[in-house]
Amino acid sequence: MAEKKPKRKRPDSKNPVDRKRFYISLFIFTGLFCLLPLILDDYRLHVVIICLFYVMMASSWNLLAGYTGQVSFAHAAFAGIGAYTSGILAVKAGINPWIGVAAGTTLAGLLGLGLGFLCLRMGGIYLSLATLGFSEILHIIITNEYEITRGTMGLQVPGLLTEYSKAAYLYIMLTGALLTLIVVYQLIHSNMGLNFRAVQNDEKAAASLGVNVVQVRVVAFTASSALAGFAGAVYGHYLLLITPEIPSLNQQFLVLSMTVIGGLGSFVGPIIGAFVLEILSEYIRAYGEYHVLAFGLVALIMARFSPNGIVGLFNRFQRKKGPSNANTAT
């Protein structure tokens, strides 16, 4: 027999105790966030709301990139589709923004399905290139279709509430983030989620065991796109002004950095990444828009030295300290 290696164990995803623990901690955190309007001023509440938006974006991108290994550059573009669909419906057709959010989510999901069918057979780098192209095309259309989108001037849209209050929007964004996290959690712990990971681990072996690889990828892509559309739509109605900045590559790379720095393929990684990077970028905003560049660099360094991000570093530290309760975060 070969030498004994340290055996790593994982928390069992199907284990009802883990599931219960997840929901309990999720609701405790939500409860704590509900108290924030009592202690934070409007500016800080705004930062928290933006953080929550990025939690939605990074977690849903992670669903695709972290769990199925498909790097899409169209995630911000899908958020843009959600925001503009809902915004244009409200401005041009007077449709209730809440219905608009649902419409934006649906359209982003449908476009994700379409794009998925077209390019997921390619896989790997080709998928990334195709989504990059899609993202740029969308950006150009939105910038140039001035009549409909008002281009770089931005489209003024109504809010989700008749009365504007940061606290109320915090609750809305919090609910959105909660919904997104629950969807992601349920999905990655379902049979489909297991197939996601199988496909990411070894596509050929997965196919040989009966996994329909193309279908699995399309499901992941569609779900992830719909969640991005949802995040974008809610975000647009919070900002009240939607600009081509939402579906921009800048935004895309910020979401990418958050996920990679936080921990690609882990559940809490993108949440941590979203908060850390958004709060950091508020501090360094004074130095101009270089923060995305800086984050890109940090993400690169992370990807090289700690591919599992902050969560990975934390786990490594835990394991050194004592192997007993390593891998607590998944």
């Binding site: 055996k7 790593r8 164990k9 197939n195 990971r197 070894d202 196919a207 040989s208 065991l209 329909n212």
Partner: protein, 239 residues
Amino acid sequence: MALLEGRRLTKRFGGILALEDVDFSIKEKEIVGLIGPNGAGKTTLFNTIAGAFKPSSGQTFFDGHDITGLTADRICRLGIARTFQVARPFPDMTCIENVRVAVINQEGHGAGEPWEGAVEKSLDFVGISAHGKTLARDLNLIDKKRLELARALATRPKLLLLDEVLGGLNTQEIGLAVELIRKLRDEQGVSIFWIEHVMGAIMKATERVIVLDQGKTLMEGTPSEVVQDERVIKAYLGE
């Protein structure tokens, strides 16, 4: 009637003819060996049967269906499982998760149905149920191979394609593995098509051997006929 039948299977890679008009058939509950020198096209034949490649021409029939050109996942769900020459377990998943993938993707397995029993049974059969929660990357070579076999079995196959499962094992382990493979056929009625370089195992466990050389069927016969055949000896040792 044959369980698996290949008719004039041909596979070209650019200008190279990897398989040329290969005919074969496997009956139910039969263990058939597939041997031949390196580069004879054995693994290519398996890839063509299992749907990893589409044949350039020719047809494959399985259990009465024409399965030529179907995707690998469809073929698996119809009842052909395979192992890979170099074991390919999902490294970042536990043994239980590895086998669970095989269980949940079969025809007739509903979304909420339990899978634990089937997973446990497969891991038990190959003798690694103690490693259930270990990540596959942390297993040693033999356990990786066992896991791969457990996974293939969990798809509940009628036919199992084994690609050099004995490579890298010592004599004692080979004995155990051969026993396991025979048990599979005797107790579960699985037919086995088996690529192997360990001739002792082939002699002991198979009823019939097909010899491939340079993409063509060189001969077919009982193990003892095959090892005495001059053409086979020549193919292995050269002129």
